[in-house]
């Protein structure tokens, strides 16, 4: 019973933090662009409104896919240690986390492709291409850290940085951190890597046919993915944290960097994005890997 409650709490917490980040992010961007911007709790209002609205669906795959999307990301979230706490006792294996994340994306992709709108499918095809773009550099970074620590457990890697700030992988392996940051930008689908959404070209791509609670679920999925991705970076490079507030604060720092970049950059075309990801971050990551290996 406790375990069930714990799992539930972790899930709600991730959603809450994710939505909060989204709201603040919008505000920050607005300020950078010299607008006033919505209140920081706007994301909660949006989700509430969407869930309250009636919506349309075309077939059961849409429902299944959306549920799978959020479910998959929540499951991933449950494997990520948050300030040393994990929802259940596992070895917090990085590879498991990376693969589990994919099921969320698959669910989302399936749902929007089932909607039958070509724009949505174009968006998905771009998103998947992008995925190939950022997974490789990101994994190269992870590989270096795994080899240094001799373990693929996220928890152990974060524990290994305990002590002073000088032990952080961010300081020890700055190149890896830069590469991971760039990959993270693409992973979150923020500018300049947002070709899959591209409202002006493909009418928000995947989102084009979603309405009501489907769009709401998509929002929540995005929120959880922000949470998971920032949490992974914090664990990998910033040594985790001793309590949850510090942890969330560190996550927010990471998110802020992404938001700053998002606010000022234009959009890459998809092939430009992939080419960029396969040259600059991979180059940096491989350099770091060589430094580690030799």
């Amino acid at each position: 019973m406790m375990a069930v409650l714990r799992v539930f709490l972790f899930g709600i917490f991730a959603i809450f933090i994710g939505l909060l980040f989204m709201g603040i992010g919008r505000k920050v961007i607005a300020r950078i662009q010299l607008r006033y911007g919505p209140p920081f709790y706007q994301a909660f209002l949006d989700v509430g409104k969407l869930f309250a609205r009636k919506s349309i669906t075309h077939n059961f795959v849409m429902d299944l896919g959306m549920v799978m999307a959020l479910g998959g990301l929540l499951a991933t979230m449950l494997f990520v240690p948050i300030a040393g706490h994990v929802a259940v006792k596992t070895s917090t294996n990085l590879i498991v986390i990376m693969y589990l994340m994919a099921i969320g994306y698959l669910g989302m992709a399936m749902a929007v492709a089932a909607s039958g709108n070509p724009n949505a499918t174009i968006g998905v095809s771009r998103a998947l291409t992008m995925m190939l773009g950022y997974e490789v550099p990101f994994f190269t970074v992870i590989l270096g850290l795994i080899i240094v620590n001799g373990t693929s457990s996220l928890e152990l890697i974060s524990q290994s940085q305990a002590g002073s700030i000088l032990n952080w992988n961010m300081i020890k392996f700055p190149l890896a951190f830069i590469a991971a940051e760039i990959a993270l930008q693409a992973m979150m689908g923020e500018k300049p890597f947002d070709a899959m959404i591209a409202p002006a070209e493909i009418a928000s791509g995947p989102m084009v046919e979603l309405s009501g609670k489907y769009l709401g679920l998509a929002f929540l999925t995005h929120a959880v993915s922000i949470f998971v991705e920032t949490a992974i970076i914090v664990n990998l490079f910033m040594g985790g944290a001793s309590n949850i507030f510090t942890f969330v604060l560190k996550q927010f720092e990471i998110y802020l960097i992404t938001i700053f970049i998002e606010a000022v950059f234009p959009r890459f075309k998809i092939e430009q994005a992939v080419k960029f990801l396969w040259t600059v971050p991979i180059g940096i990551a491989v350099l770091q890997l060589l430094l580690i290996l030799l």
Binding site: L50, N93, Y99, I147
Partner: protein, 624 residues
Amino acid sequence: MIELLLVPLITTLVLAFFIRYKRITWTLFLAANGFVLYKLYSIYGIWNLSYKVDTAYKILGAELTLGVSNNPIGWYFAFFSALITLLISLFSIGFNKNSRSNVSVIWMLIIFSNLGIFFAQDWVTFFMMWELMGWTSFFAITNGKDKALDGAKYYLALSLFGAALMLIAISVLAQYTGTFQIFASAYGLLQIINSSTKLGIGILLLFLTTFLIKSAIFPFYMWPQKVYSEGPEDYITFMSSVMIKYGIYPMAIFIVPVVGSADLPMILNTGNVLQYTIGYLGAISAILGTILAIFQTDMKKLFAYSSVANMGYILLGFSSMTIVGFEGSLFHVVNHMILKAAIFLTLAAVVFRTGESEMHKLGGLVYRMPLTFMTFLLGIIAAAGIPPLNGFGSKWMIIQALMSKRMVVFAIAMIFASTGAFMYLFRALASIFLGQLPDRYKDVKEVPPTMAIPMFIMMVIMLLTGVVPGVVMKPLTSALKAVGYNVEVASWTTLEGSLKNSVIDLKIVFYMFVAGVIISALMYFFGNKSEKVPQNDNYTAGEYPEEWGVDADRFNYSYAFYQPFKEMFEPLLESVSIDGFFASIGRNFEFLSSTIQGLFKRGEGAVLLFSIGVLLLILGGLII
């Protein structure tokens, strides 16, 4: 032991007799496969079973003895092959109701040869069965269709070439070791490598090439797409899931032990030269297979290349030469068998109902074939290696092994291929089953029960192996233990990696996934209710195109699905075209053939050539 081989052989004859009665043949076929599976089940653990035939045939001064014997790794391969084959043959009953040709006879002969390969005790038996598999496959692929001839010829030429290399290797090896026994000659080969390295590696590479050809590893990666696109779909299912593993089996029992313990120059202290050769071949196959699969528009070709990539993973696991990698590879063999069978069965079902295998001409079939869709969905989730389905565990073990050996390039290749797999798998899903249903497929129905049942069982097996990997890992580890590897028998649900603190419990992964889905489902039900509307309502904005005298123009985005990606990679692939190389060999032979024909057709200069011949003899006999 011998009845295991005799029953398929006798069944072949009986089937040949009844070839015109489809219902009888396919039922018999199913029964024979059932028997094989039962028999295999019953001989588990009895590793001293064997059967020998003494012939009077003298070779290398001794009389040749042919033998089969039960061996643990062979059993492991044979048992799971038989299991999948049984399911496919159940599917075949329904699938072949309307087909004109009957492939069951030759297929049974292939099953016979396969059992022979897995249980062969000596290289001669192995070779005989191997060759039998080559030409029988040719007939099974063409199955009376001229369209399939080109692919089948390509396959035949490659497999005959491979067999020729193997014959040379066997003969040389027997000359140096004095034995045809597989296990004894492995030790012999090791000694040859240690004493005269060049010769030993030469022999090893000859063997390796043969096995690479059968398992479609780079540079022989072209045949699956040529063969799978034209052969009979149910047989192709067998071929892609089960038969492609026959190259892996001898690698596991012969190549890996020899390479692993050979005393060869090391690279970066992580592995020896041959290990890296195998690894690079695997990595190139994985990457190339993935990229090419992304380009395909024909779904069978797409999954053919996916098979190439998966064979690459298996080789990568071997190349690590650690026990985790080895187990992971062998585990992946079975996982890939299961998931590829599931996927190809659904493709067969789609072709059965629509007669179309070009993905961009399909679409929206989920409305008509939901069960097929579900099987396909689980299949691609498994193929992408996403937990909690079965492809994950083995891939995870292989990556673990590569990381622990610091083989970074291979690990990155593996991740590239897995992520790329996601691209092509989703493309197949979206193009075949999702999107809008074309009008011409309005009346398509779900497949009949005889075909639906095996697909359903496939789903169950995929989930079961995914959550409880012990069903495969337990027999595997017991088999490895029986062979003499230093392993613990695996537990039901946990997998053990080779890095620190890397035990994962797939049961927990499954529970977490369920928990995530439950939370998300709660959210879903918490939201306001939704209304199901036909796609047209949204798509044409509520208008009725029929009223304007036009049809609703349906279209899916599925033709040039990854065009930007394709544009990036095409120049690269054009510069390394192995296919072009093989094609040019074929063309040169044909050109030569025409020349020779011309020579013999006119027959001019017969006496001149005669004189040249005499001169040659004189040159050889008197002058030199």
